[in-house]
């Protein structure tokens, strides 16, 4: 390269030479060996193997054409481990996030751009930001009454028709469905398969909840096994929280976690710490209902049937005994009545007979005074004419008539010789 001087004698650099000089200067102050922390707000982020981030001053206006922009990039070799670390902590580099980047300046001569090569990202700062945004979301949901909205949705006494939002290939899905299907109760599971992590998950989960809500299931269960904060970030998504809160069907969550519960858990009707626990709780609800309404009813039914039959048997037996005694009593009463009548009749008859006997004796005694035998014994006699008639008057006989004279010990014949009237 030939050395060129200006008209004033000062050296003139070619563009390439200028960039080499500039690069050397920048590297000596801000290059690979002198990395620095830079704080800014993510204005744009783009990933294609490598990560590209446009960083601006936090709070600056996008309409400000003069605001400084740092074009940062992170090569794939650095970005991949950083990406995993961020994901594990549930951090996503998204526009609006305020982030501290560690790296060095480089100059890309073909485009005349100064760039910033990122070698480290301050996760602690990002986590604080995530926590703040999380709290803001919770406060917003609380202010709108959405933390309690789904809890007021009534749950059927026997939630056998279960809508399920899950990924069928996961352990969480198997653990949850295993509890229900092995319970012995007739659960019907209506599955809407979704991603349960990653950027696509929130929209899919929202759509699944809305579909199941329209489908008419008893409850909607959102399940996901344990994972890192990053894996579970979709359950802190505002769209998911609002879909759960505004569902007209009770939403149960069984999202495995060891730290803070997710916002989905907060707005859900019922939450369990794992899919298995959620399955157990639902089975318990059904089992309790079955115990109270079926088994106890069956036992009461058996007892009541036995008691009713015993009571009916005792009733019939008692009526039979009562009837027998009543009939006997009635017959005995009639017998006593007849016996009394008979006795009275007998007494009355005897009395009558005795009276008659006495009357007869009296008559007999009276009549005995008129007995002809007594008169004959006293010397009286009875005269009968030839015609056998007792002669009581003279006119009944005539002189010479043969008459018979009866005395006490016999009779004799006599002839009428003289007739004289009574003086």
């Amino acid at each position: 390269m030939a050395s060129v001087e200006s008209s004033t004698g000062e050296p003139v650099l070619e563009v390439g030479e200028f960039y080499e000089l500039l690069t050397a200067q920048l590297e000596s102050a801000y290059g690979r060996r002198h990395p620095r922390w830079v704080r800014g707000e993510v204005a744009k982020v783009y990933e294609k193997s490598h990560l590209y981030v446009d960083l601006v001053d936090a709070g600056s206006s996008a309409s400000d054409a003069k605001r400084p922009v740092l074009n940062a990039h992170c090569w794939a070799s650095q970005w991949n481990p950083l990406k995993r670390k961020l994901a594990a902590d549930g951090v996503t580099l998204a526009p609006g996030a305020v982030v501290n980047l560690f790296g060095y300046v480089d100059l890309y001569a073909p485009q005349g751009r100064i760039g910033f090569t990122v070698t480290e990202i301050d996760v602690a700062g990002l986590l604080g930001d995530v926590a703040r945004r999380r709290q803001e979301l919770i406060a917003r949901l609380a202010g709108e009454g959405l933390l309690e909205a789904n809890k007021r949705v009534p749950v059927p006494a026997v939630p056998l028709r279960v809508g399920l939002v899950a990924s069928p290939q996961t352990e969480g899905y198997s653990d949850f469905t295993g509890q229900l299907l092995n319970s012995g109760y007739g659960f019907e599971i209506v599955l809407v398969a979704t991603a349960v992590q990653g950027d696509a998950a929130p929209a899919q989960i929202v759509r699944a909840i809305e579909d199941l809500d329209r489908h008419g299931v008893d409850i909607i269960c959102v399940v996901r096994g344990g994972g890192s904060k990053g894996d579970l970030a979709c359950f802190d998504d505002e769209r998911v929280a609002r879909a759960i809160a505004t569902s007209s069907t009770a939403v149960f969550t069984g999202i495995g976690h060891t730290g803070d519960e997710s916002i989905a858990d907060l707005v859900a009707h019922t939450r369990a710490i794992t899919p298995t626990k959620l399955g157990e709780e639902i089975v318990t609800v059904v089992a309790n209902w079955y115990e109270t309404n079926v088994r106890q009813s069956a036992r009461r039914l058996l007892d009541a049937s036995g008691a009713l039959l015993d009571e009916a048997s005792e009733y019939v037996a008692e009526r039979r005994r009562t009837l027998i005694f009543a009939v006997r009593d009635r017959l005995r009463a009639e017998q006593r009545h007849l016996s009394g009548v008979r006795q009275r009749l007998w007494l009355h008859s005897r009395h009558t007979l005795e009276s008659a006997t006495r009357s007869l004796a009296s008559s007999r005694q009276l009549l005995s005074a008129y007995d002809p035998a007594r008169r004959l014994a006293q010397g009286w006699s009875i005269v009968t004419g030839a015609d056998g008639q007792v002669v009581a008057r003279l006119a009944q006989v005539h002189s010479g008539e043969l008459i018979t004279v009866r005395v006490s010990d016999g009779s004799f014949a006599s002839t009428v010789e003289e007739m004289k009237g009574a003086p």
């Binding site: 069956a298 036992r299 039914l301 058996l302 039959l309 009543a326 009939v327 009635r330």
Partner: protein, 70 residues
Amino acid sequence: MSVTGDWNEEANELNAIVASFDEGEVSVDDLFAKLERATAIIEALEARLETTKARVEELAPRIARVADDE
């Protein structure tokens, strides 16, 4: 002598007959007829009871399986 009413109906008639005996309202002429009727009712109730017991005995194990299911 047919007995075709339901349980309560028949039981009420039986109760009335027993009550008439208790109160001495039954004449000797009516006694046999009433006793015959009451006997027919009792036998009908017992027959119905036995039938019901037999049916309950058939169902009881099935209900017991539900009650004792663990």
